[in-house]
């Protein structure tokens, strides 16, 4: 199981989502994608997209207006 870190700081919709979907394609099953973002729309649209893909995910607000999203490829 690998951990892949994706820096999406200072980027706005839809770039974090596109970056995540590109990265997920390259990953293997069981790998974990960690996205860091400061764009709250990304929380909404990444969650929506991940739920549609039926992947496991969670997110934490690590600082005021900064989040880490964890997505596991299943």
């Amino acid at each position: 199981m690998k951990e892949i870190y994706l820096d999406c700081m200072y980027e706005v919709c839809p770039i974090p989502l596109i970056k995540a979907s590109k990265e997920l394609k390259k990953m293997e099953i069981g790998d974990l994608l960690i996205m860091k973002t400061d764009h709250n729309c990304s929380i909404t649209n990444v969650i929506e997209w991940v739920e549609k893909q039926k992947l496991k995910m969670d997110y934490v607000e690590i600082d005021e207006g900064e989040w880490e999203i964890y997505i596991e490829k299943t």
């Binding site: 200072y10 980027e11 770039i15 970056k19 709250n40 929380i43 207006g65």
Partner: protein
């Protein structure tokens, strides 16, 4: 705490947000006689900037002052108050959800792409008499045909833009 989370922290649904926007636009139209628009304000500010530096803008041809009321100026008018209020409201929303943050520029590419994108958007909004707010959001409910045409070409443009973004910019 639960109420705070619901009202200020969590994003509202598209239905609620859209409903509130529609209601506010109706109230704005009733109160000021003009629906919500955005880029017109920057147009006025641009002309003000040109005139301040001594560049004359032919306001007869472009019909600039037709859109301004008797007590309105290039800097201070309904559209510019609306624009400033949008910024103020967004700031209040960010502050009340504890998400206010200064955003930095990531790299040179983001800066260049941002400036060129903004320039194209501004130019396009002017030659088509409005942006997505003035033309789609306010134009279509006003039964203006130009809103529909704008919307069709906006969709085509967004599709091409997305292709360019996927292929060359990411």
């Amino acid at each position: 705490m639960r109420v705070y989370q619901k009202v200020f922290k969590n994003p509202w649904s598209y239905m609620i947000g859209g409903g509130i926007l529609a209601l506010l636009n109706i109230l704005l139209l009733a109160a000021t006689g003009t629906p919500w628009r955005v880029t017109g304000g920057f147009f006025y500010w641009g002309i003000w900037l040109f005139e301040t530096f001594g560049v004359m803008v032919n306001t007869d041809i472009s019909g600039v002052y037709d859109g301004l009321g008797p007590s309105e100026t290039l800097l201070f008018n309904t559209v510019s108050i609306l624009n400033l209020s949008v910024i103020l409201g967004a700031m209040l929303s960010a502050l009340s959800s504890n998400e206010f943050k200064r955003r930095k520029i990531k790299n040179k590419k983001q800066l260049i792409v941002g400036i060129s994108g903004g320039f194209l958007m501004g130019y396009g909004a002017r030659i088509s008499f409005g942006c997505n707010v003035g033309s789609v959001f306010s134009g279509i409910p006003s039964f203006s045909l130009h809103g529909w045409i704008f919307w069709i070409f906006l969709t085509i443009g967004a599709y091409i833009g997305a292709k360019i973004l996927m292929k060359y910019l990411l």
